[in-house]
Amino acid sequence: MKYRRAEDSPLFTKLKGEEHMIIAQIIANGILMGFIYALVSVGLTLIWGVMDIINFAHGEFLMISMYTAFWMFSLFAMDPLIALPICTILIFVIGVLTYLGIIRRVINAPGLTALLATFGLSMFLKNLAQFLWTPNFRYINNSMVSGKTIELGSIVIGVSQVVAAVASIILTVAVMLFIDRTRTGKAIQATALNKNTALLMGINTKKIYAITFGLSGACVGAAGALMATFFPIYPASGALYSVLAFVSVAMGGFGNIKGALFGGLIIGLAEALGGYMLGTQFKYAIVFLIYLIVIQVRPKGLFGW
């Protein structure tokens, strides 16, 4: 195996004009990826904050959404961007069903039981996908946005990434506004703060839990449809993103949407810059290292209290 030696690393060479451009390019890519990570993390942080459950099946919801986009595209020639609402609604429904079928039964169990139920679900969904659709990599090659690029000076960015990032920003802001402004959102906040008090105030906490799970699914469903335009689709494609989402949620502070947004951005940037400076094989190691450093300064995450 060949690896980039340390001397080859740009850290050891003088930055020339071109290198500046490369770094600008990498930062742009990192930020765009960061917004998508943020949308995935927002979904996870909602469940984590409201119900105090780590949803291990989060990445598998993402994978199912990517497959939905793929099948919509290959069977009905529907562009992933048009299929986005379908993916979102489908994963919303799967989220609600997950709550009703599984989480409702384990939510009052001690300790880690609920987490293990979601772990079982993730194992089930991952292997169901493999059983139904084989482990082969699939791609959506000729959607509206794939293969096209925008040039800003000397920075070249893929249209699909830009569209995905913009859509992620819009959806993240929409979720924030929903939580902050609407009655249901306020009920979600109240349930997160104290379930029993919320119950006493006449909030149907079971309904709130179901909505939270659905909303979390909707976030990840939208993210899946957006990512399907430029990522390979295979049964384990979600697993990596769920681990990254754990880290970004913990970095931002559990249950904090703003935290998840910044966590996602930091991870996107760390991955891109770390991969460039130390070699791509270490990019996730850098991400996890940054989490460990951040958590030293803010033991409850950037925005946790």
Partner: protein
Amino acid sequence: MVKNKKILFIIIAILALIPIITRTKAVLNAIILLLIFATLGEAWNIITGFAGQTSFGHAAFFGIGAYTSTIVFYRYNITPWVGLILGGIIAAVVAAIMSYPCFKLKGHYFAVATLAVAEIIKQIFVSWDYVEGATGISLPIIQRSSGFAKRLFYLQFNEKIPWVYICLVLFTAVILLCSYLENSKMGYYLKAIRESHEVAESIGINPTNYKLYAMLISAFISAICGSMYAQYILYIDPFMIFSLDISMKIVLLTVLGGVGNVFGPIIGASIFIPLSEFTRIKLGGSGTGVDLMIYGLLIILITCYQPKGVIGIVQKLTEKSKKTNVGGEGKIEATSGN
């Protein structure tokens, strides 16, 4: 305590008798894996069940143990028995290094931090040429005609029965250590820390030190299990050995067996390992993942219908004798502290 010893004796006697009753390879294989994972569960139980610090990164210690004994044998032809102890020491050192920054975190933050550490270690091993990187290592096989003494020295056997007894000895030693620990001063200190960090501190316990001791013991035992596992299956690679699935398997069988109880891991392992082996043997050959699909479904069903773990059923059945068993029903601190 007397009653616990009786149960322990019965469990060990049953496991020791199985190779005499049947020599089916699949059964013996399941018993060996069961014992290795039960021992891992005991190790995890020390830090999570007793001290209340949820770790999702025990695959790191397991993997360090597996790699140390393998490398020592593969590169320098030194007996795995030396590698086993060395692996334990290295894992304990790594545990000490990671514990210092991690112990000020609480609940899920600690859990995610241990997961992050395990992932970092995995990434390092994947791109480290000295340990053959992502290719993994196949252990060199000693001559087929070697005598038993030599086989024992190099920890490689032609048949499975010696493995059953080696793993049984390891498991017995660890479970005795854990029951001793549970009723020792340190065990009570750890449980005090689990129940309330602040109160434990206020009555003069140094939580950081005791959590560190628990972590060191836990890491040492996990590493020994890793060495055993590597010697048993004779092939390791970083994706398999440092995977989140291994960490979660340990959590799974301990929690569903009964966390914080010395019998939890063996009960959990007795259910989950044969189950996973059975589905794998019956359905795994197709390569379509249907075995893991069914296994996942079974996990969901067990968690949904018996959320307190299998030990919950036992406690329900033996309501009276419950008082003698107060090893502490596992209450893990899992709140984010809001």
